[in-house]
Symmetry: C2
Subunit: 280 residues, 2 copies
């Protein structure tokens, strides 16, 4: 497995693959791999001859009050996991490789970026769309894979790729969960032993939403919201950022249930902000 630390090295590697007519897949990550990341790599291998995984903790998608400095990192472990996974190359650029001084260009996806996580993280998706565009331009992959846990991110990237005519196929992968249902996330590492049981509030609330719609036939989204709020608040250490019930394509909230319905949550457990979602 190649370790690429500069844009020039990454471009040269990809150029060689392309000149051999190989189909190239990219999995953009912030590292600290868990089973969710490994499932993205697996999916990518199914659709490409060569898979490159990028690890870059992108500063522009963190607000000043957020966890950029403490974001968990373990490059040695990531390298071993990627190697075991049969990845062809890891692209691990240094910060100064990615953002030039006086970086001024942003890719903005309107509307889709405003609600859900965009409300409490107003510059987050601008940072995501910009770094993903940059990675796409450096690697020029045929296919790129993202997780559905960041559902809003996936929709924003799909729209961006369509709107900017990027010749890249975007694949979304299902959420991977711990045995008890907690969605895998690098940020789960922040949870204390005491807080960990409370992190289940997200999954259990989503399961409740599923039952309310499918079994009890609840048609009012505000009724669903109320029940989910009660469920989440029954766990200690929790503080709700948002409960979203709406259209998975437009990311607009709904008053009456329409299928498919996206239920998406962001909840602080202690100081750790966790997200999860379900399509019903």
């Amino acid at each position: 497995m190649k370790i690429l630390e500069s844009k020039a090295d990454a471009r040269e590697m990809v150029r060689q693959w392309r000149s051999a007519s190989q189909k190239i897949g990219l999995v953009p990550t912030m590292g600290y791999f868990h089973q969710g990341h490994l499932s993205l790599m697996e999916e990518c291998k199914r659709h490409a001859d060569r898979v490159i995984v990028s690890i870059f903790v992108n500063p522009t998608q963190f607000a000043p009050n957020e966890d950029l400095a403490s974001y968990p990192r373990d490059l040695d472990r990531d390298k071993k996991l990627a190697e075991t996974q049969g990845i062809d190359a890891l692209f691990i650029p240094r910060d100064d490789q990615i953002y030039a001084p006086e970086h001024k260009t942003w890719v903005v996806v309107e509307d889709l970026s405003n609600g859900l996580c965009g409300k409490s993280r107003p510059t987050h998706f601008r940072g995501v769309a910009t770094i993903v565009t940059k990675l796409f331009n450096i690697i020029q992959p045929d296919v790129a894979v993202f997780g559905q846990k960041d559902f809003q991110q996936l929709q924003i990237i799909r729209r961006m790729v369509r709107d900017l005519d990027l010749p890249i196929r975007i694949l979304g992968c299902p959420i991977v969960r711990e045995p008890d249902g907690l969605a895998m996330s690098s940020r789960n590492a922040y949870l204390t032993e005491e807080q960990r049981p409370s992190a289940l509030c997200l999954y259990q609330a989503l399961q409740l939403a599923d039952r309310l719609v499918r079994e009890e036939g609840v048609e009012s989204c505000s009724q669903i919201q109320t029940r989910l709020r009660q469920k989440i608040e029954s766990f200690p250490f929790t503080r709700i950022d948002y409960i979203f019930t709406g259209d998975p394509d437009t990311l607009k909230p709904l008053e009456q249930v329409e299928r498919p319905l996206l239920v998406a949550l962001a909840v602080f457990v202690g100081t750790t902000r966790l997200i999860d979602n379900i399509l019903i």
Copy 2:
């Protein structure tokens, strides 16, 4: 010369060229060719094996009160001129080929887009950066050529290409002028016979700025501005949009002359908005 009317056709044409290892050049235009456009095509031919010229009057760079509907068009003449010029293909997409319904993604270059033309045309450069990104993603040229008459546009595109890691070399071409000094522009077609002499106010003001700096050693930008204002206002039918004296790289205004100095003008002659600039 091929006429390409869809993104798919353009991509297929370019794919064939690239598989023959040919270097591809793009000249993005809004059509209604004049000598300025032809000089861009000439320059592009010097740097590429295959040259594709796009003609697309991009609606998103016009504000509702601007001249989108009346922008001059003459496709038959453009085709003949491009053919004579030895261009390999014209990409003339239909509007619905370019902007999908619910287009929501914008490429924004901060700071550089705010002053000069950005002040009176606040969404103009967002439209320009977005369409140029789209054309770059459709054609994936090795080199692209732009005129220096739109100096701010050229600087914005250079910055955007750097910031987004687009693997494209950007070339700027000198302003091409009529025998009397008027910068060539498709919009010159709007001028009445009566207004045409007043259009010279831009070139004459820029010549005056050059003399003030080089010969008279004027060091105060506000003094230059005053003299240029007087010069322009001595012509009938004129209304100044801006007189800019500043740094050509940052596009920040200067108080004291520093070389190289960018002097850039936008002046309405009748209802026609003309721009011109000089590097001193």
